[in-house]
Symmetry: C2
Subunit: 139 residues, 2 copies
């Protein structure tokens, strides 16, 4: 195992870069069915939230909170879903999904329902720009 | 809205009491297919993790971490799933589920898969006693 952090290849394929916090890199899930971000702490080998040091765990919570607040402010969802699952991609990552009563999976969780609908480049860029504005200032 | 915390009636029906922390009450999901605990902060009206004060949010993380560490120590799962979903029961609650490659839903998340298999009273009591021993000392 190297000591240089690298994003898991499947996360790399399935997501688009949004921003970087002190600990985590934030990616947009490339699935236009749901406003859906992924928060990935840059810690080599971490798979579980409880693998992190207490300081890192709290920092991950703070960064996830900022993502969730920005997503709520931007999208006004009915509910936020925040989850560390990782049954398939074991690199630690936290899902933050804005959910609506008329979305493709409601009221079920989003995982394993149907097929991702990729964004157009323009729509992804516009969404990320709006998200960064909602985050406010530098991450 | 009253200012006295009460567990959501569906959570009350679906779970069994395990222990209480300073902030949260911990319940065993009454579904013997998965070792599955629910951490419910006793804050009236909270629905989202980001509705909590920063102090409460960090306390919830610490209490969830203790539950997850005890569950991992007790069950030696392949993966932990930790999630705040709440699309159906909106009272804020965090799922902590021990997952195995041969469980009923793997690798999918557990929500909405099949039907819960209730514990016998004796099996539930034994599981909760083992969980409390794994927690170590008083919660």
């Amino acid at each position: 195992m190297t000591d240089v952090f690298a994003l898991d290849p499947q996360l790399e394929r399935d997501t688009l870069p949004a921003c970087d916090f002190a600990l985590s890199t934030v990616r947009l899930m490339n699935d236009a069915r749901y406003p859906w971000l992924i928060v990935v702490p840059r810690r080599v080998g971490a798979s579980e939230v409880i693998d992190l040091s207490s300081d890192d765990r709290h920092r991950l919570l703070d960064e996830t909170t900022r993502v969730a607040e920005a997503l709520r402010s931007l999208c006004k969802p009915k509910k936020l879903n925040i989850a560390a699952i990782g049954n398939i991609v074991t690199q630690l990552h936290v899902h933050v999904v804005a959910r609506f009563a008329d979305d493709a999976a409601w009221p079920r969780p989003v995982w394993g329902i149907g097929t991702a609908v990729p964004y157009s480049d323009a729509t992804a860029s516009a969404f990320i720009a709006s998200f960064l504005r909602a985050l406010g200032g530098r991450p």
